[in-house]
Symmetry: C2
Subunit: 214 residues, 2 copies
DNA sequence: GACTTTGTTTGACACTTGTCAAGAAATCTC
DNA sequence: GAGATTTCTTGACAAGTGTCAAACAAAGTC
């Protein structure tokens, strides 16, 4: 079980016996997982607490028992989500023994998560957009963005290492570029699920070599 | 007055005298402009028809007189918006006489629109995210994305021309990269309005030269 | 086993939402 | 200016929203 620590919102309101804290956390995670499923399908704007409850084994009252309000729940979901997504390429980075192997593994994992977890990615870009209008979401979104940036930076750094070169862009730039391509793929995936993964691969292959130089 | 043609939704329902069609269109545009202001401030999720009407000189009934429903209005807004945004850099492209001049002019215009029209850009990224969940928005969003891609492609093509080189990436890739950087700037602008424009400039200066080669 | 604490259900509340329709007001037509 | 048409206002509706609180069930404590 992953402890989802709060980056901003007040969390430690319920006294609760120490032995029960785990159970509470377990319920919260279950709720969050259910909510993420609904959110990923409907998007932020169209997801209500009742809809979340309906698509779960709980009633809508339970949601409010474990979360102060809607933002608290969604904020928790975002934080929970981040613990699952930013370490996706670590294995590839650690095991690759050549630049090409790293790129291949990276692209394989990336297209795979594009296909397998489309709703989650759609939700991420939705929530990031929402954070521009809803201040309460901003700290959590910023934290995830930073994690993702570091993730990309680790990959690019290792890639440079393996190809005896150094990155020619800084971390935020590298992240923005790769993220731009990935978001394009996520948006395009609905219209063209067959071709999009290959297109993403092609485009990243065009770009990655340009981000390092001897 | 710009004619906002429908890319997808049925539009020609109202018989209306030919002489009055202009007036109808004028009202529609006025409504759309008002709606865009509200949408840019609140975002798609939090904007209701009544809120739009309140922030305008019209009553909420008028909105429904000129637009079939909410999606029809927002869809119209998106189409109206696109006519204003995709030709922003044309003058720079046409008047620049050197690569450096083009880049300078491009960056100046880009950071200027980032600052001056932040709400509109926030809305665009919001709506593009919404289009992943709301099919009815997709055709219009796709159309705008294509326009923007062509816009970036014109700039890069001219840049290559002026520097006696050729682009090393295709149009969708170039657009995704630049758009990734711009979206990062739009999202970051709220948290850091002072530094963001310069950061965007820096990053684009890092990237642009890499997108062409002799 | 009684009692307290914790967890869950249910139903209600105040409010907002999109939509629509009936009628008033303005505009046009002759 | 009378009558028809277009435009706008107003008020209402049904459905859905977040929130909460009181009743109920379960589990833990002594």
């Amino acid at each position: 079980m992953v402890a989802v620590t709060s980056a901003s919102a007040a969390e430690e309101e319920r006294p609760a016996r120490v032995s029960g804290i785990d159970k509470i956390e377990r319920r919260r995670v279950a709720l969050a997982e259910s909510a993420l499923k609904t959110l990923g399908e409907l998007g932020y704007a169209r997801t209500s607490l009742r809809e979340i409850a309906n698509n779960s084994e709980f009633t809508h009252g339970v949601v409010h028992y474990y979360f102060r309000d809607k933002i608290d729940l969604i904020s928790y979901c975002v934080r929970y989500y981040k613990t699952k997504c930013a370490r996706r390429y670590d294995e590839v980075v650690e095991t690759a023994t050549s630049g090409e192997e790293l790129v291949t593994g990276f692209l394989a994992k990336m297209t795979q998560t594009l296909v397998d977890e489309t709703p989650m990615h759609k939700l991420w870009y939705d929530l990031r957009a929402q954070s521009m209008f809803e201040e309460q979401l901003r700290p959590d979104v910023e934290a995830i963005d930073k994690l993702l940036e570091e993730m990309i930076w680790r990959i690019l750094g290792r890639y440079a290492e393996l190809t005896a070169s150094t990155p020619t862009v800084d971390a935020p730039t590298a992240y923005a570029l790769v993220d731009g391509l990935f978001e394009q793929a996520v948006v395009g995936y609905a219209a063209n699920p067959d071709k999009t993964p290959d297109l993403l691969t092609d485009r990243l292959l065009q770009v990655l070599p340009k981000l390092v130089a001897p």
